[in-house]
Symmetry: C3
Subunit: 140 residues, 3 copies
């Protein structure tokens, strides 16, 4: 069995942001030498997501509006108990559950085995600091 | 390490539909010869989901109503920016995030290692065309 | 390839509850002898979730309120068709889709490869009976 472990680091300048990380993950698949296997990509922070969807600017804006509607930002401890701890990011913990922590992607013939429009995104919901994603590849 | 890769194809006649694909996945597990391992099942399209839940007709109707409430269909580009591209499926990209892209199921003693009511579904949110699911099995 | 399969059992006394299961999963990783691999942790029941987030009491209360807002409990068959079957747990099937069925965690150097605040939770949405989680570990 071959395996590879790597971290990708980000520092999103705003509270929220969406970054296409597909080419970085593809490069790690090549580096791993794995021909057949699985590639796990997960946020290592609990106010961020890794998800797969379209790299279309309008859609990303729609996601951002929609998440804000389902789990609005509110720094107050009267709205979110979590924010009584001094945090202001309770909404980010919720947004991340909608978009998910991780994706698992098949590796076939040394490549990410993707449908026509699948792209891997890092979604930041509480940015303005360095945060990271884990890539773990196993296979042969 | 053994591995198997197969696609399952669907053409849902309506915009939305929910198809139980458990027996197709089980057949692939048998075909793989894997006794202990992992089985990844993912939508290859970004307006569809693979999820695990109950095969009960009322529940499926409830899911459909609930998803429509959380992310209503609206073809207008004034509601969803994505639809300014000429698409009308922005809602489908959101519904898919709620229900998820993929499931990973354990294989134990050559079978899907399931609880009593777990069934694998393909959920279509933008049908009326051929779309597919990837099954990737690794193990020994 | 090494592999391990174990079940964790729970009996949550209330309808809903959130249990940190990280140390139980870590013990199974040690027991497996796997140094590099993947660890799948999934609810075996379709009205419960396994998810990764913070072990902070206020946040857990916020999740509970938020899930109840997105998918309110209502035993009536007029609100949820699923409840016409004699069940009263349709809301639990929806809450579970938001929080997810499973997590896949990397194993690196014989440990769960976690960011600073990642903790694995079992979330029960229809308790007061014995239910279980599957842990499946593969690697070498």
């Amino acid at each position: 069995m071959k395996h590879l472990r790597e971290e990708l680091w980000f520092n999103v300048p705003d509270r929220r942001g969406y970054i296409n990380i597909t080419s970085e993950v593809e490069a790690l698949v090549r580096q791993s030498g794995v021909q057949q296997g699985l590639c796990l990509v997960n946020a290592m922070h609990i106010t961020a997501s890794v998800y797969i969807n379209d790299d279309e600017r309008g859609l990303i804006g729609d996601y951002d509006d929609w998440l804000e509607k389902l789990a609005p930002f509110n720094a107050s401890g009267e709205v979110y108990r979590h924010n009584r701890t001094g945090e202001d990011n309770a909404d980010a913990h919720m947004k991340r559950q909608i978009m998910g922590r991780e994706v698992v992607v098949a590796i076939t013939d040394s490549k990410l085995d993707f449908g026509p429009w699948e792209q891997i995104f890092y979604a930041e919901f509480d940015g303005r600091r360095r945060k990271r994603v884990l890539v773990k590849i196993i296979g042969e």
